[in-house]
Amino acid sequence: DQQVKQNSPSLSVQEGRISILNCDYTNSMFDYFLWYKKYPAEGPTFLISISSIKDKNEDGRFTVFLNKSAKHLSLHIVPSQPGDSAVYFCAASAVPGANNLFFGTGTRLTVIP
């Protein structure tokens, strides 16, 4: 049972434009959400997170939005750069401090120069 879903397996964006990656979840007990970025032959690296008490968190070019009523979150990258090309995973946790992460299937972002 996939509790975290990323319905777009791939996304292509022109350099300088905005990239929007989407994620949906089904478990209403999730209260912390994270985005990881993964390059080929490397492990995922943490990018940005958001607690369920917030609806937005921003870090430089990266912003994560959370819509709890819709059980939906999105990652905005602006402006997109070629080095952002990677697979992005959405992850969620139900218990603060327990660190059990449930990952989505990933979206491959390609930023075209």
């Binding site: 995973f89 603060p96 660190n99």
Partner: protein, 118 residues
């Protein structure tokens, strides 16, 4: 600071054979995780250690998978016997201390071991 180390990076075996993976977490990290990532899917947690004790192994197929964390540092994950569906990347991650950090303890991932079962 050295990252999470894993070996081997690649392994090809035949079904019903045994295989073992090794992980060395970041120094000082109390919590260690093993994930399985099947092609086209996200990582799935297999087992989580806090020091040398198991915190969560609810998704570990215990009939064929086993894991241990020696002296609360290095860890090995073993599959015996392997099945075709075990073909995946096995990721090890570590975090500083689930109890001490909050609300969520950042996990640092190793490069993974790609297992192919023929």
């Amino acid at each position: 600071e050295a990252g999470v180390a894993q070996s081997p990076r690649y392994k090809i075996i035949e079904k019903r054979q045994s295989v073992a993976f090794w992980c060395n977490p970041i120094s000082g990290h109390a919590t260690l995780y093993w994930y399985q990532q099947i092609l086209g899917q996200g990582p799935k947690l297999l087992i989580q250690f806090q020091n040398n004790g198991v915190v969560d192994d609810s998704q570990l197929p215990k009939d064929r998978f086993s894991a241990e964390r020696l002296k609360g540092v290095d860890s090995t994950l073993k599959i015996q016997p392997a099945k075709l569906e075990d073909s995946a990347v096995y990721l090890c991650a570590s975090s500083l201390d689930v109890q001490r950090q909050g609300p969520l303890d950042e996990q640092f991932f190793g490069p993974g071991t790609r297992l192919t079962v023929l």
